[in-house]
């Protein structure tokens, strides 16, 4: 392992959160982003080939070392870690709408879910899973919501592009807007 790879491994072990390519490159004044990319590939390969219990994953805007999934239960049963609380169905539905329709107002979310989402929205904001991203043009200039980097982290996604495409879903074969002429204003 060259010194840069060692340094990156040490940093990724220390951070307990994803580190971006920029953050990693800044660790060594002599390293370029492409040096860092090479070292990351090397590290990834070593964990794979050496059959380690941890792996290097790419998530949201960064890189993170995580334990392999197959050890999840053994570690949780030994109470070495606390698995994060699951999101409620209401929270997941709200997240789904925001993820696909962003930027989207509270009113639009409520229209689709058929219930008030005041409390859910607030708790999603508190958990940094959604954020206000601007204002709409309509009456009262409603706040518009979008997803955060942290949501990607929570889902283990690199970008929103990795969400299932609507035309891959079994239910609706077309975007919602095309489902019927009866779409309300």
């Amino acid at each position: 392992m060259n010194r840069l790879t060692q340094l990156l491994e040490a940093a990724l072990f220390s951070a307990a959160r994803p580190l971006s390519l920029e953050e990693l490159t800044a660790l060594d004044p002599d390293a370029t982003a492409s040096d860092v990319s090479d070292s990351l590939s090397d590290l990834h390969r070593r964990y794979e080939e050496g059959e380690h219990g941890v792996e290097l994953v790419q998530v949201a805007d960064g890189f993170q070392v995580l334990t392999r999934r197959e050890f999840a239960d053994a570690i949780a049963e030994a109470r070495l870690v606390v698995r994060p609380r699951r999101l409620s169905p209401a929270a997941l539905e709200t997240l789904a709408i925001i993820a696909y329709r962003q930027p989207v107002s509270r009113g639009e979310i409520e229209e689709i879910r058929g219930v008030s989402v005041d409390g859910v929205l607030r708790s999603l904001q508190e958990r940094d899973l959604v954020q206000a991203v601007g204002h709409g043009d309509g009456m009262g200039r409603p706040l518009l919501y979008g997803t955060t980097e942290f949501l990607l982290e929570l889902l283990g996604l690199r970008s929103l592009e990795e969400l299932p495409r609507l035309d891959e879903l079994s239910v609706a074969l077309r975007p919602v807007a095309e489902l019927g002429e009866a779409s309300e204003e």
């Binding site: 959160r17 870690v81 219930v115 204002h135 283990g156 969400l163 239910v171 489902l179 019927g180």
Partner: protein, 242 residues
């Protein structure tokens, strides 16, 4: 997964909570393998009512709204169709659209949930070394944040500020005009007559300022017959009524 099974026209509710009326309705439809494009609304509306009754949801506004909508569609379905079938609009169209849209969201949210579960089985480093002097964490701020904050400030500004800036509550000129026009008809007024039925502090101050000014230039005389009695305002003789 929440589900409702139909047994002898009654419903066995397996899980106490649905994420909303659409969830419940969709469950009724899917569990009976009803064709969503041809929903027997009369039947489903009755089942929905029975279900929210069984679930103790019959006081929840969202569920009642849905029940009312279903009943409305049920009635519309009973109306005779026009002869030219082409112009007939299926009263269920909007309901179907909403249900399909919601079902799509459900599918995505199931995916999100399983994705989050998968990820939650991979743990990050647990031990975080203590930092000598961490200082405040680095800050993330972008223009969007700032803009949203401005909008929030604007919407939260308490009204009094706007009033103080915009309104001109003291109206000495108006009070002066009112006093002179009243004294044009009569020689004497009681002070209380000058205030409307519900004077504000600003009204009172305006009238007093106007009186003092009129007295100073010698157009009225202020007379208080006895202490604590109301004040009388008399027209100065130099300025007789027109």
């Amino acid at each position: 997964m929440t589900s409702i099974a139909e047994t002898n026209q009654t419903f066995v509710v397996e899980l106490e909570s649905f994420s909303g009326p659409l969830d419940l309705l969709l469950n009724l439809i899917r569990s009976q393998e009803i064709d969503i494009a041809d929903i027997p609304v009369a039947k489903v509306a009755d089942q929905f009512l029975a279900a929210i009754d069984a679930l103790g949801l019959n006081e929840a506004a969202n569920y009642l709204d849905m029940a009312a909508w279903l009943m409305r569609i049920k009635v519309q379905m009973l109306l005779p169709r026009p002869f030219d079938d082409e112009n007939w609009e299926d009263p269920r169209a909007e309901l179907v659209r909403r249900l399909l849209e919601y079902e799509q969201i459900r599918e995505v949210s199931d995916w999100l949930g399983s994705q989050a579960d998968l990820r939650s089985g991979q743990y990050p480093r647990g031990w975080v070394p203590e930092q000598p002097d961490p200082g405040p964490p680095p800050v993330v701020v972008d223009l969007g944040d700032l803009q949203v904050a401005v909008e929030r400030v604007l919407s939260a500004i308490p009204q009094p500020i706007l009033h103080r800036v915009v309104a001109r509550p003291l109206d000495v000129e108006g009070a002066t005009r009112r006093i002179t026009s009243m004294l044009a008809e009569r020689d004497s007024l009681d002070l209380l007559e000058l205030f409307g039925p519900r004077p504000t502090v600003a009204d009172v101050v305006s009238v007093l300022l106007a009186l003092l000014e009129l007295a100073r230039v010698g157009r009225v005389r202020l007379v208080q017959p006895r202490p604590f009695e109301s004040m009388a305002i008399q027209r100065e003789s130099a300025h007789p009524a027109a």
